[in-house]
């Protein structure tokens, strides 16, 4: 981590790497002026988006799954960038689960993306050079 440019960049290959990244990100964000709500949303994005890639992004070689994550502090925003070479998946376009009327109807999947869409300032997806690129902006 560089305190000068307030940026953190890591390659995540496992849940253990994700836990380390979440700890480091929290430490970075708590050291500067970032609201508790923004820290919550950053952690939600890290957990939900990285976990998705590790679980589903590399179906033919799950043990080779890797996602690059960058956490960047800007004046009014925290900007998260996720890059992976797994199978194409656009989380922004993914249909949110329907609002359930009963517990039996309540979906187990798709909730993380739904929660993130409601919390983030912006949420964008690009497909470039066979890579998935997801950029999440969170108001500080």
């Amino acid at each position: 981590m560089s305190s000068k440019n307030r940026q953190l960049a890591r390659e995540v290959r496992s849940k253990s790497d994700l836990f380390d990244l979440m700890d480091e990100s929290r430490e970075l964000l708590e050291s500067v002026e970032v609201s508790p709500k923004a820290i919550y949303t950053v952690e939600l994005a890290l957990e939900e988006l990285v976990t998705n890639v590790l679980r589903y992004g590399f179906p033919e070689n799950p043990s080779g799954a890797v996602v690059g994550v960058e956490v960047e502090l800007q004046e009014d925003l925290v900007v998260l960038t996720f890059i992976d070479e797994g199978c194409p998946f656009d989380p922004v376009a993914a249909e949110p689960p329907q609002i359930p009327l009963t517990l039996e109807e309540a979906p187990i999947g798709g909730l993380g993306i739904k929660m993130l869409k409601k919390s983030a300032h912006s949420f964008e997806y690009f497909r470039e050079d066979n890579r998935n690129i997801v950029v999440v902006q969170i108001l500080r």
Binding site: K15, L18, F19, M22, P36, K37, Y40, E43, L44, E47, E48, T51, I99, P100, T102, L103, E104, A106, I108, L111, G112, K114, M115, K118, S119
Partner: protein
């Protein structure tokens, strides 16, 4: 993540969760959570006052147990979630399915006899 069973003498299970209910937290607590509540659980009170983070993995754990309670004719109730955790529940459209209460008396009123 910590999990404590508060009182086995009541007509409902009363558990307290402490920490972060994310992938790491669920990994550390889910087996104990399921064991303490069990497949015959009917009414469950989960004290959430000291839960500081809830992700979709935590919600999956809650939904699974809430369904068990429902199938047994009961209900699982969450007591005093922190504001950001409560908001996460609302964003997941969970608050209508798992009642949120602010006191034990309110929880006891929510439990079917």
């Amino acid at each position: 993540m910590e999990l404590r069973l508060n009182d086995q003498q009541t007509a409902y299970r009363h558990l307290t969760l402490v920490g972060r209910l994310d992938t790491r937290g669920v990994d550390s607590v889910e087996i104990k959570f399921n064991a303490l509540i069990g497949p015959k659980a009917k009414n469950v009170l989960l004290d959430f006052a000291e839960v500081s983070f809830l992700s979709s993995m935590g919600i999956r754990m809650l939904l699974t147990m809430a369904r068990v309670c429902s199938r047994n004719g009961g209900v699982m109730v969450v007591l005093n979630p922190q504001p950001l955790v409560h908001e996460a529940m609302q964003h997941a459209s969970l608050d209508d399915l798992i009642p949120v209460v602010t006191s034990i008396a309110e929880a006891e009123q929510a439990f079917p006899a």
